[in-house]
Symmetry: C2
Subunit: 210 residues, 2 copies
DNA sequence: AACACTATGTTAATTATATAACAATCTTGA
DNA sequence: TCAAGATTGTTATATAATTAACATAGTGTT
């Protein structure tokens, strides 16, 4: 990585947004953009755009602005979307299925290589061409395959058991849809939480107070 | 609301987390907790706990701590989870279906009263007892029913058309799973975004850089 | 080639958020 | 009932994030 080594989480969380808007501009065949214009489109300040981008290097040119296609590619690389991280999905319920079917993993740096569920009824069914395996096969699968990350779409009470297994196989990166606090159990893990009900509660609060 | 009128978004986004942990403690029949202990469990500082809670009032007692059940109820009320906001779901694809089936809306202050999709194949099917209606019936439904919020689980390109309709009926609160920038079109709306791909990209970045 | 203009990269100022400190107050047990 | 201990509510300090300012460097037109 080009400049600093400890980019703040606030900046990191904005990167996908930059990437999205730049992709749109690129699709519209717009080839240059100034921080001011980009800021207008994204509803942020031009200062923030320039500061954010400069965390990673000087991608612009004074008097001209930024090349849309180049900047888009730069951010793509910064995010590491060209990776091919091997992922497994734990939990083939509604949410797990939706995640597996809905996401364009290959465009996001991942490849989904297996799904597991402990419900006999789901075992054997197919999700996006992947046959759901029984959770009892998890250990064996982990032994035989390289796995970079696990997507947890199971109820909170089921997490601990599965997590211990995964961790014992050296899996330390998690996309976590449950309310289980993974970091509290293993503090050397990298966890990205998606708490849908938290998000909805936040909406509720704001509806009450605006 | 008891104290200040403009609580920062940072605090608001932590409230569901307090609520979750307090609910757990309550389920374990623990009846009192100090800010220090709660902070330990939640992996934050005791100062933050006390500051956060004091945005809404003095729920604790010096020398004693906080009553778990009382504090839980207070936060529940602050979040407004006793509400019965009427919600409609737009988009009965994988994600929409998962959201509808997965969430405990009534515990979160909402009631899902209808689902819409523009795909003839989905129209007529049932999700959690709710029959999916054709999107052509949306206008009529909005005329005949009170609706507080809409959950958007449709592709970006489909949003503008639907959004214009919903907005014209006075619906201004959105739980938005698409990448459409609702606030850019209508700036007097209240939008809670859930960007799953942004979240996954963030995980990707962090996997690369740790 | 020179000049007016544009827009970056970067440093400085401001604002927001998080942590620490502590006085005031309640609890509890002798 | 009183004193020792505990823990809050709140104010003060420190850190982080955002915004503003501006000097510097490249653009493009005449």
């Amino acid at each position: 990585m080009s400049k600093s080594d400890s980019i703040s989480m606030s900046v990191i969380r904005r990167l996908p947004r930059y990437y999205r808007f730049l992709s749109e501009l690129n699709d519209q065949n717009i080839d240059k953009i100034s921080s001011t214009k980009l800021a207008q489109i994204m509803n942020v300040t031009a200062s923030q755009v320039r500061q954010d981008l400069n965390c990673f290097g000087g991608f612009g040119q004074q008097g001209y602005g930024y090349s849309v296609s180049q900047l888009k590619e730069e951010i793509k690389n910064i995010l590491g979307l060209n990776n091919d991280y091997k992922a497994i999905l734990i939990g083939a319920g509604n949410l797990g299925k939706a995640v597996a079917m809905h996401m364009n993993f290959e465009k996001l740096g991942f490849e989904l290589i297996a799904c597991f569920d402990n419900n006999e009824q789901k075992v054997g069914t197919k999700i996006n061409g992947i046959t759901v395996k029984n959770e009892t096969e998890l250990d064996d699968f982990c032994n035989k395959n390289h796995i970079d990350t696990a997507f947890l779409c199971i109820p909170r009470v089921c997490v601990e058991n599965v997590l211990d297994k995964l961790y014992s196989h050296g899996i330390k990166n998690y996309w976590n849809f449950s309310h289980y606090d993974i970091n509290a159990r293993y503090n050397d893990t990298l966890v990205e939480n998606v708490h849908l009900s938290d998000s909805l509660m936040t909406l509720c609060y704001r509806m009450n107070n605006n």
